[in-house]
């Protein structure tokens, strides 16, 4: 069996929503201190919904696939829906991740939550 699921490899090979948003409403960054992966998420919010999302990621195949799929999952969702999304949900959507990658590379949902918190703090 291959190290990564087909879904992981598909997202890794063709990542969705790579990039930055110049006038982003919120920016969230998560860095894993153990192995050094890093994700930065940019969101545009309209009417309490994620209207646009982009990311940049430094890391392994899993980290890139996680970023890609979580960006897809967030598109068009409400802030509350995205906030209830967990890292475990993301791993499930990818058809699972290797055990040793579950904690270090699976940070996409956390990065998105940070972007939303950043957006909320700006609104205050």
């Amino acid at each position: 069996m291959a190290f990564y699921s087909e879904k992981v490899m598909e997202h890794f090979a063709n990542p969705r929503n790579v990039g930055e948003i110049k006038d982003a409403d919120g920016i969230g960054e998560v860095g894993n201190p153990v192995c050094g992966d890093m994700m930065t998420f940019y969101i545009k919010v309209n009417n309490n919904r994620i209207e646009n999302v982009k990311f940049k990621t430094f890391g392994c195949g899993a980290a890139i696939a996680v970023s890609s799929i979580v960006s897809e999952m967030a598109f068009g969702k409400t802030i509350e829906e995205v906030m209830s999304l967990t890292n475990v949900d993301v791993a499930k959507a990818l058809g699972g991740l290797p055990q040793n990658k579950m904690h270090c590379s699976n940070l996409g949902a956390s990065a998105l939550h940070k972007a939303i918190e950043n957006y909320k703090s700006k609104k205050l």
Binding site: A13, G36, T40, K56, F58, G59, C60, A63, N100
Partner: protein
């Protein structure tokens, strides 16, 4: 799809001549060499002929060669076997900080049993700090083990000089055994145990286009060693277990082929390596060669680059998608999610270490394969850098972000 194998540090392709030499001993001549009937004698003769060929490659005598199942077993036997045999005269062992796991973990076990271990550091190219080695030698030192060549960054040590430092030091009280792990060196560069003056040396068939499942430990005549497998009288009672005759015959053939071809293949592989190094340096920005320069003490087939702003595992996955198989020393590429201990030992910046990519070449690679890699590599790097927040930070601000394990990200 094209398959370009550039991971010869992890295993090498079997040479067809080696395969042919093994065949008769798999089906036809299956006798146990310890049996004295005719089928046993055929095996015994083949076993001893192979021992002569294997010994000849490293300028040893046949009776100084013990066959084992792999390099790790040879290293375990050397470290534990010598330490146990010599412990009445001391319990201090010195090894380098860039040894293979089979040395490091054997040492860990000995530490639990009350042995005292010192680790000689290396410089930023992986060369042993000779002064520190000298200082570390004590009256109760019994064993020094330093790798001949490092598979990851390609550093070749001056073993002869290190042996003389150990043997001539006045701090030393009793006999100090010198072992070297030559798994990555043997088959790639000349090895001469008499010239080096080593007491024990590990080498393996799998890194020289021989079969897996067989390796050897050279044990200098007279050196005491405790067996690690209890059993019968095989291998002069130093390594029990029915001899793996087909694999040993293959190992003998592989050594014979190496002896014949070493000089010409070496020249060829160095040429490929140098083309890969200069090609990558001219095509990709912000990359750094790990280990010695090509014209210095570097293994012929070894190329290890850190590609800044990207991570090694994603890099080798994309190379694999193009049919190119390589390795990485990055944390993400390892099972324990730690940056390789070799890269840590040469004190590499953690962010730069993450982008390590290791190409190890063999005589079966071609000039066309290297040109193909040079063609594909830049666009893969570009693709990953376009995705990298570290790269965009650098492009926008001209500054680098550092990754310090155990902390958050900060600006330099």
């Amino acid at each position: 799809m094209r398959q370009i194998y550039l991971d010869n540090q992890s295993n090498t392709k079997l040479d067809k001549r080696v395969f042919d030499s093994m065949m008769p001993f798999l089906i036809e001549y299956y006798g146990n060499p310890q049996s004295i009937y005719s089928l046993g004698v055929v095996s015994k003769d083949a076993l001893e002929l192979a021992r002569c060929k294997v010994a000849s490659l490293i300028n040893a005598d046949a009776e100084e060669i013990i066959f084992t199942s792999c390099g790790s077993e040879s290293n375990n036997l050397a470290i534990k076997g010598i330490a146990e045999a010599l412990k009445s005269s001391g319990r201090h062992i010195i090894i380098s900080s860039i040894e293979h796991f089979s040395i490091l973990n054997s040492i860990k076990k000995l530490e639990k049993e009350g042995f005292d271990v010192s680790f000689v550091p290396v410089d930023d190219k992986g060369n042993i700090d000779e002064l520190r080695l000298k200082e570390m030698l004590r009256k109760d030192t019994i064993l020094v083990s330093i790798q001949y060549a490092n598979p990851e960054i390609g550093t070749i040590q001056d073993i002869k000089k290190l042996v003389s430092i150990v043997k001539q030091n006045k701090n030393v009280g009793n006999f100090v055994a010198f072992h070297t792990d030559a798994v990555s060196a043997c088959g790639a560069i000349p090895v001469d145990v008499k010239d080096f003056g080593v007491d024990a040396l590990t080498f393996s068939a799998s890194t020289m286009h021989g079969p897996r499942g067989v390796a050897a430990l050279y044990i200098k005549r007279g050196l005491k060693i405790n067996p690690q497998i209890d059993g019968g009288v095989q291998e002069n009672s130093k390594r029990s277990g029915t001899e793996n005759v087909p694999a040993i015959v293959g190992f003998g053939k592989a050594c014979e082929v190496v002896k014949e071809e070493l000089v010409s293949k070496n020249r060829f592989i160095c040429k490929l390596r140098d083309r890969l190094i200069s090609g990558l340096l001219s095509k990709v920005e912000y990359i750094y060669l790990n280990g010695p320069q090509a014209q210095e003490n570097r293994l012929p087939g070894n190329v290890n680059f850190s590609i800044e702003f990207i991570e090694g595992e994603s890099l080798f996955l994309l190379l694999d998608a193009k049919g190119v198989m390589v390795a990485s020393g990055s944390a993400c590429a390892s099972k324990n999610l730690k940056l390789s201990h070799v890269l840590r030992a040469i004190d590499i910046d953690a962010a730069i270490g993450q982008g390590s990519i290791i190409f190890t070449l063999s005589k079966f690679n071609t000039k066309e394969e290297i040109e193909y890699v040079l063609e594909e590599f830049p666009s893969i790097v570009r693709r990953l850098r376009d995705m990298s927040p570290l790269y965009s930070h650098f492009v926008h601000t001209g500054k680098r972000r550092v990754i310090i394990p155990g902390t958050n990200f900060g600006d330099v």
